[in-house]
């Protein structure tokens, strides 16, 4: 096969993208070489097993994907507001909404939250690192190569075009020939391995590595949300693994699971997909709830209201999330009884969610609200999310859903919950913990600009879409061919650009703050309002996290510690700390698996087998690897702590 056969040709926009990608790539190579940073890149980042660095890499990747998914969104909005331009044709539009959805859920929302969990959870429970640092690096690289594989599809081979739900039979070999859909399957499969491993890893970390005395019901609420999320990951992701594998086998090896021939059953895909897909929604929303709880309590300067209820409501939501998947296809004709059952179970989720909303409001009662940027994101979440929540209940009413389904009403709903929930939380969490990660805060003024632009842009973009849906505009329509729909679409596009502008200001703020923000001098960055252990250690966080781990027997332990003048450096109690060694194995192993996946995408079996053998070889090496890490000597800990604390 010649190289020109696999490159996407004939689309000026894609040529432009190719050129700009090539330029950015060359620029990166040049910078790394010119400043002699290759060794630094390898030894500090690519081989790291430090949860904080891995978290930073997750977040950087997620921001990059937010950009890519956002550009997809802008292109769609331009096309819908100016249908006469002939900007995108049907095929191109289909590819764009498919990659937009997949990227935003799988390669933006999840890694963003997992990145925050990576950095914060071990710090919140007083742990040295993850339970399995090596596995954590493995998870990241599997996500990374999955993401890379998915993203190269639009220049090599062609993007998937069957929607992020990839419904069969449309996505099967007969109706979607070529590598596009394989990119979707292999990209998700590869990154899914990492997600599952992270789920297990974090669960063991939280269950086994908490500070002495810290019971489960003493844990910070973000850690709780992580634990519950991990349960969902462990029980939901294998379903996706199987679904993807079956469709891959269908497409590449000619099996008949979801085909129209051989008595296959295409509608089984929808079931399997949503049995994972609905819990997935809660995988990205529960950590968001956790972040909001932390931020609101901190800047209300008040204990979280109803801590136990908050925890239990998350557990109930997690359980219910496995019992509602049919509501994604009420219109499949399962009959009135089945639809009734799933309708009621769906609406029931509103009860624990509502309880959480009221608890946040009650946390604000008799508090001292300080309007910092993370607090603005968190506060904005409440009214915005309510709009998404109530329309969610409306969608849950199956009989009415027959009218809402597949329409812009649905689009508006899930963007209202996913953006106002997950994306707002990502921004809130990032700004909130930014000083912990990088040693300086983000600029507040620019942060507020970014917030207000994004916030208003968001409402202007998505609120009109409810009404487009009620006027019968279906989702995934590549052209606004009905004049009646045009005005609201134009408004929506204006809003989308507002969000884009907000994002640009946010990114500029990263640069601006790096240049001009004051460096942190204490670990307790937000005017001494920190409540949980992550604020108790110094900033920047030493690689071993805590010199000594305090005894914890309550929620918000750092408040008591500050009252009693205790720190995480009790000089007489310092012992050598066991640390894992850095290793390049995870990177190499996953690079091989990435290569194998790439081979499978194009059905080049030799490449696939070669990659698999390489990966197996790396696993065998790992099995014989008895590297037990090293100990940080007491002297070094004391020296580091004294310097950081100015003692």
């Amino acid at each position: 096969m010649h190289i020109t056969d696999i490159l996407v040709t004939g689309e000026p926009i894609i040529y432009g993208a190719m050129v700009s990608m090539a330029l950015v790539g060359i620029a990166l190579l040049f910078i790394l070489t010119y400043f002699k940073k290759w060794k630094w890149l390898w030894s500090e980042w690519l081989t790291t097993v430090d949860h904080k660095k891995i978290g930073v890499m997750y977040i950087l990747s997620a921001l990059l994907m937010l950009f890519r998914g956002g550009v997809d969104a802008m292109m769609m909005r331009v096309q819908l507001a100016f249908p006469d331009l002939g900007f995108l044709n049907s095929q191109h539009y289909n590819e764009i909404f498919t990659t937009h959805g997949t990227i935003m859920i799988i390669f933006m929302a999840m890694p963003f939250l997992i990145g925050l969990m990576n950095i914060i959870v071990p710090l919140q429970i007083g742990a040295r690192d993850f339970a399995f640092p090596y596995l954590n690096a493995l998870s990241f690289w599997s996500f990374f190569f999955g993401m890379a594989l998915f993203n190269i599809s639009f220049v090599i081979g062609g993007s998937p075009d069957a929607g992020w739900t990839s419904y069969t039979p449309l996505s099967g070999a007969a109706m979607s020939p070529g590598p596009g859909q394989n990119f979707y399957l292999m990209g998700l499969q590869l990154s899914g391995i990492g997600t599952l491993a992270t789920g297990i890893n974090l669960m063991v970390t939280i269950l086994k590595m908490r500070a002495p005395g810290m019971k489960l019901f003493h844990m910070p609420i973000f850690t709780w949300s992580t634990l519950v999320t991990c349960f969902i990951i462990v029980f939901a992701f294998p379903i996706l693994t199987v679904a993807l594998a079956l469709l891959t086998i269908d497409r590449i090896f000619g099996a008949q699971f979801f085909t129209l021939t051989g008595e296959g059953l295409p509608m089984m895909w929808a079931n399997l997909f949503w049995m994972w897909g609905h819990p997935e929604v809660y995988i990205v929303i529960l950590p968001a709830f956790g972040i909001f709880s932390e931020v609101i309590a901190t800047f209300a300067k008040k204990r979280l209201f109803g801590y136990n209820v908050m925890v239990w409501s998350m557990i109930v939501i997690a359980l219910l999330s496995f019992l509602v998947w049919v509501h994604h296809f009420f219109t499949m004709g399962a009959g009135a009884f089945v639809n009734s059952v799933f309708s009621v179970s769906t609406m029931l989720i509103a009860v624990p969610t509502g309880v959480k909303i009221f608890n946040w409001l009650a946390t604000l009662y008799k508090s001292k609200i300080e309007f910092t940027v993370p607090m603005l994101w968190s506060l904005a979440f409440i009214p915005s999310f309510i709009l998404g929540g109530v329309t969610g209940v409306m969608l849950g009413m199956a009989a009415a859903d027959y009218q809402f389904h597949n329409s812009y009403f649905l689009i508006a709903h899930f963007h209202y919950v996913l953006i106002a929930g997950t994306v707002f939380a990502c921004f809130a969490g990032l700004v909130f913990w930014y000083p912990k990660m990088f040693g300086h805060k983000m600029n507040e003024r620019l942060g507020k600009w970014a917030f207000w632009l994004f916030f208003f842009g968001f409402h202007v973009c998505f609120f009109p879409q409810y009404f487009l849906g009620l006027d019968g505009m279906p989702r995934r329509l590549f052209i606004t061919n009905v004049a009646e729909w045009l005005p609201l679409n134009v408004i929506s596009t204006v809003g989308a650009f507002g969000m884009g502008l907000g994002f640009i200001v946010f990114v500029y703020n990263v640069y601006y703050s790096f240049r001009y923000s004051a460096r942190e001098t204490t670990g307790d960055s937000w005017n001494g309002n920190g409540r949980t252990l992550e604020w108790a250690t110094t900033t920047p966080v030493p690689y071993y996290n805590f010199a000594t781990v305090p005894y914890v027997d309550e929620i918000d332990p750092y408040i008591r510690m500050k009252e009693e003048g205790k720190t995480t450096f009790e000089e007489d109690k310092v012992k050598p700390i066991h640390m894992p060694s850095y290793t390049g194995q995870p990177f190499i192993m996953m690079a091989f698996l990435g290569l194998a996946s790439f081979g499978l995408v194009f059905e080049w079996m030799y490449v696939a087998v070669f990659g698999l053998i390489g990966a197996v070889f790396m696993m065998i090496r790992r099995s014989f690897d008895y590297d037990d890490g090293y100990y940080v000597p007491v002297e070094e800990i004391k020296r580091t702590e004294k310097k950081a604390r100015g003692l």
């Binding site: 063991v204 462990v234 079956l246 008949q256 699971f257 051989g262 296959g264 399997l272 008895y626």
Partner: protein, 201 residues
């Protein structure tokens, strides 16, 4: 943390690393249960969708499946004996029983491969119908797990030869025994809900 090592109790549980490894593996098995449950559900849903291919009742033979079941059940027992020997501190016993376990596992695999080839000759392949796709993937995923288990156990046998019984090697053997028993349990479900039901209907 690794510094704190218990002096009593099974070797594999004495360090926190050991405890965490075993707990992580239990959770992983939980995920595996979901994986196989999904495959079983798929199989159940596609049951009867044989299209033009032969029916399962025409192909499934009780004899060979019974032999396979016997082999795998026995191997689970010998695997248990291996761990028993390990707890007694006997490297020799551990190796002996583990090798027997692997031999039985290989026997199982041999019969499974023979069976698959035989079905393919009779016109039932992964491509012939939805039912046969589901059958081959369900039984095949189990078979693949057994294969990986055998390869993995061989690696561990080399390591125990090199290093003897330590916190780490005992943990690794304990974990693979969990894995092996788990595969046994899955097989019992395959035996009853795939073969027995398939032969009757």
């Amino acid at each position: 943390m690794a510094a704190e090592e218990l002096k009593t109790g099974p070797l594999e549980y004495r360090t926190q690393e050991g405890q965490m490894g075993i707990m992580g593996f239990w959770i992983f098995l939980g995920a595996e249960v979901v994986l196989f449950a999904t495959l079983f559900a798929t199989y159940a849903v596609l049951f009867g969708r044989t299209a033009d291919a032969p029916l399962p009742s025409e192909l499934f033979e009780p004899g060979i499946v019974l032999v396979m079941t016997f082999l795998l059940l026995t191997s689970s027992f010998t695997c248990g004996l291996a761990i028993h020997e390990m707890r007694r501190g006997s490297v020799k016993g551990l190796i002996l029983w583990m090798v027997i376990t692997l031999a039985l596992g290989l026997g199982f695999l041999g019969f499974e491969i023979y069976e698959f080839v035989h079905y393919a000759h009779e016109g039932a392949t992964i491509q012939s119908s939805a039912f046969w796709s589901a059958f081959f993937i369900l039984a095949g995923t189990h078979g693949l797990h057994v294969t990986l288990g055998i390869g993995w156990a061989i690696l561990l046998l080399i390591q125990i030869k090199q290093r003897g019984l330590t916190n780490v090697t005992s943990r690794k053997f304990f974990i693979i025994s969990l894995y092996w028993h788990f595969l046994d349990v899955i097989w019992i479900f395959i035996f009853t809900s795939v073969y027995l039901i398939g032969m009757v209907i």
